[in-house]
Amino acid sequence: MALLKLENVTKRFGGLVAVDKMSLEIKEGEFIGIVGPNGSGKTTLYNVISGVYFPENGSIIFEGSDITKLPPYRRAHLGIGRTFQIPRPFSSATVRENVAVGAMFGRLSVNVEESLETADYYIGLVGLKAHRDKISGALTPTEKKLIEIARALAMKPKLLLLDEVMAGMHPESIEKMIRLLKEVSEEEKIAIVSMVEHIMRAVIGFAKRVIVMYRGAKLVDAPAQEALNDPRVIEVYLGKGIRDA
């Protein structure tokens, strides 16, 4: 059984079709890369899966049950975690408190003490130990992205949607982050969908499968190498040579 299944999902904003009849299956523990030009509907897809927006059409099935109409907090309890493209930590709270919130209200309902311990673990994992007790609003954008990752991991999700978490990071940091995510994904059996807009080279490195989105629809869904060499994909990127993008 697929962990997540989208069937013909459509999300419109007025006249604009941001996600267009999208069908998709994600298996448990899978590591998927998602690419597509700006405005192709990737973030909207995440919003629809995590429940921030409800789709006009189609259905979303998680572990066999229909969650199309479920509010976001119930989806979090089922095991859907995500980060935001523009990091949204609770800025007046410390890094530790932020990550603890993930543990406290995520898939497992955990008390405050245990949540703080879980938080410490994931803060260490993403390398924010030195900032643990700082007010998160005072951190740099990259550090805020790390908070988002730690907070989402602390939710103990079965499916983790990462929205451009590596954009703006140094190449070495990206490499480290990819290795880290891969390890966590294997260790905790988390299916990870990661957006990797401007770092095509990295995509091939970690994702067995790559989904290419274009104008709200799925253009290609194939093993990484194959997807990136697909002529349609190259065309989407205007012959720019997707591997150099």
Binding site: Y73, V101, M104, F105, V112
Partner: protein, 344 residues
């Protein structure tokens, strides 16, 4: 084995007691107010004024401070609390319950306020911040016109029940209760509200409220049922306001007039106290209540008639200079020092 278990347990309870250290400065303030009033009887009226503002801030803060939602109709909870006391005394003064009728009044005030908060909360708390605030404008006026228009509970004539109190408890006891114990109850309500505030802060509830105050959408995605936590904070805050109205107005004045108890300026005073002291902090409402009450009292004595002209700009300057309030600013300053353990 047993001794290991015991030591772990006692360590646990020490940790738990430490969590409540921030109540010390708050309760210190309330005790000090009480002692000043006892030792200098001529100060009692100032003490009661300050106690009321502290309690108002402490109760309102559980909702306004902790969720970031503004309820412009908040005074309606106090007003209903006052009516609860009036009705409680009216129906039970011949039952021979003696001073028990006061507790009936407090409980009735609490229930009426809670009931209103359930209704308002279920409807309006589904709305986002600004829309919620707009939806609550006029709840208090609505009650006033309902009571006056429908001639409910004595209509615009209000309810006067000094006689009933005398019948139930005798003249002397009534006197002590309305001039002394009613005000002591106000301090007790402030203390209870402070305790609940800290209890919430230290539990999952506080984390949920902080999250939804900062970013409601992100909070939902983190698994927080935001409506549930907002309603919880709203009901708690309203029930404290109900008891406050029952004692500080209903019991103290032995009468209730709709034009008095549904006045929006009490809501505004509550908001100002919380902003001055530090929204969402534990000590803030007590600090704000003292600062507001003392300034108002002092300016009223120094510049009778024009005190508001002076007061309003001063408040505005303080709020602009310290957007996180006195205690919010202080908390940042003492971060990492031992004092941190005592201030929340």
């Amino acid at each position: 084995m047993i001794s290991v278990g015991k030591s772990v347990n006692s360590q646990q309870s020490i940790v738990n007691i430490k969590k409540y250290f921030p109540l010390l400065p708050v309760y210190g303030i309330y005790l000090l107010l009480f002692l000043i009033g006892i030792i200098y009887p001529e100060m009692w009226s100032v003490v009661t004024l300050l106690a009321f503002y502290c309690a108002l801030g402490q109760a309102f803060n559980i909702f306004l401070g902790m969720t970031g939602y503004v309820d412009f109709g908040y005074v309606a909870f106090l007003g209903l609390g006052a009516y609860g006391m009036a009705l409680g005394i009216d129906v039970s003064h011949q039952t021979g319950l003696n001073i028990g009728i006061i507790f009936i009044g407090i409980i009735l005030g609490l229930l009426m306020a809670t009931l209103l908060s359930l209704v308002v909360g279920a409807v309006a708390l589904r709305l986002r911040g600004a829309y919620f605030a707009i939806a609550t404008i006029g709840v208090n006026e609505g009650f006033r016109y309902l009571i006056e228009g429908a001639k409910l509970w004595g209509g615009s004539e209000g309810l006067i029940y000094f006689r009933q109190l005398n019948e139930a408890m005798g003249r002397e006891k009534t006197n002590v209760i309305v001039t002394f114990w009613a005000d002591v109850f106000v301090l007790v309500i402030a203390a209870i509200s402070a305790f609940i505030t800290l209890y919430y802060m230290r539990s999952k509830i506080g984390y949920a409220l902080t999250a939804l105050r900062e970013d409601e959408d992100a909070a939902k995605v983190m698994g927080i049922n935001v409506t549930k936590y907002k309603i919880l904070a709203f009901i708690t805050s309203a029930s404290m306001a109900g008891m406050l109205g029952a004692t500080s107005w209903g019991l103290k004045y032995t009468h209730v007039f709709p034009a008095d108890v549904f006045e929006i300026h009490y809501t505004v005073e509550g908001i100002v106290i919380i902003l001055l002291g530090g929204a969402g902090t534990l000590l803030g409402p007590a600090a704000g209540g003292l600062l507001y009450g003392l300034s108002k009292y002092w300016l009223g004595a120094m510049f009778p008639g024009i005190q508001l002209l002076i007061f309003a700009p001063i408040i505005l300057i303080i709020i602009v200079a310290f957007p996180e309030g006195i205690v919010g600013t202080m908390k940042k300053k003492i971060k990492g020092t031992v004092l941190e353990r005592y201030i929340a």
